[in-house]
Symmetry: C2
Subunit: 134 residues, 2 copies
């Protein structure tokens, strides 16, 4: 992260503009409109570096592609089991890590990853529709 290149700036801007916690591929497709020759490798490289520097967060929860989040405030995510759509969940003081011990008591626990799962409004509706058909 020694130089601010056009690509790096665009990736960061695009991510900050987004509200969907996009994947690297989604960002890539989007960026190609303004930077037709950008490569997916560059997108990955920059997302990695930006996350490393703490400018963005990498979300690697559950299966599938990692997603990226420009919002650094404490919050969690709920992911739709059916379509993968993600929404924010704001919660404070969820867990006090200092009170938690591993089974053998040998671990120094420093933090946690937490993700909620469920059905987004659209998938919830569609599932109810399918049930009626049965």
């Amino acid at each position: 992260m020694k130089r601010m290149t056009v690509q790096r700036q665009c990736i960061l801007d695009e991510l900050k503009k987004s509200r969907t916690h996009p994947t690297a591929t989604e960002l890539y497709e989007c960026l190609r409109h303004t930077l037709p020759h950008i490569s997916l490798g560059t997108v990955y490289r920059n997302l990695h570096r930006l996350a490393e520097k703490g400018l963005i967060r990498k979300l690697e929860l559950g299966e599938g592609e990692s997603r990226y989040d420009p919002d650094l405030r404490e919050h969690y995510h709920v992911r739709c089991i059916r379509c993968g759509h993600i929404e924010d969940v704001v919660l404070e003081n969820v867990l006090d890590v200092s009170t938690i011990r591993s089974q053998q008591g040998n671990f120094v626990i420093q933090g946690f990853h937490l993700e909620f799962i469920g059905y987004c409004s659209q998938c919830g509706q569609e599932i109810r529709g399918l049930n009626h058909e049965l």
Copy 2:
């Protein structure tokens, strides 16, 4: 899961014997001692089916290979950031999902994934050693 083959039984037995939440590859390497011709594909196929039937749990948290757990009781895991070693964490009534709402309130939240991270005793020691050297 219509037939109990030698392979399927061995995979289940090996997993139940283990205390390390092994990966598919780790199980594969281990099983080759007794079943030299077993294939990694078979291991994956069976782990998938066993998890589907609820006989084991698939742990897909953070990066890297998925791990498999024969313990179906409610418990969580702490993963060493440095070496990947996993230990159990027993906690009850961690979160009441019914009280949680997504930001737009559109999600029907059904559950959550929770994983703790930290340093195992060995890595904790080694890090302290490295700090002294500095």
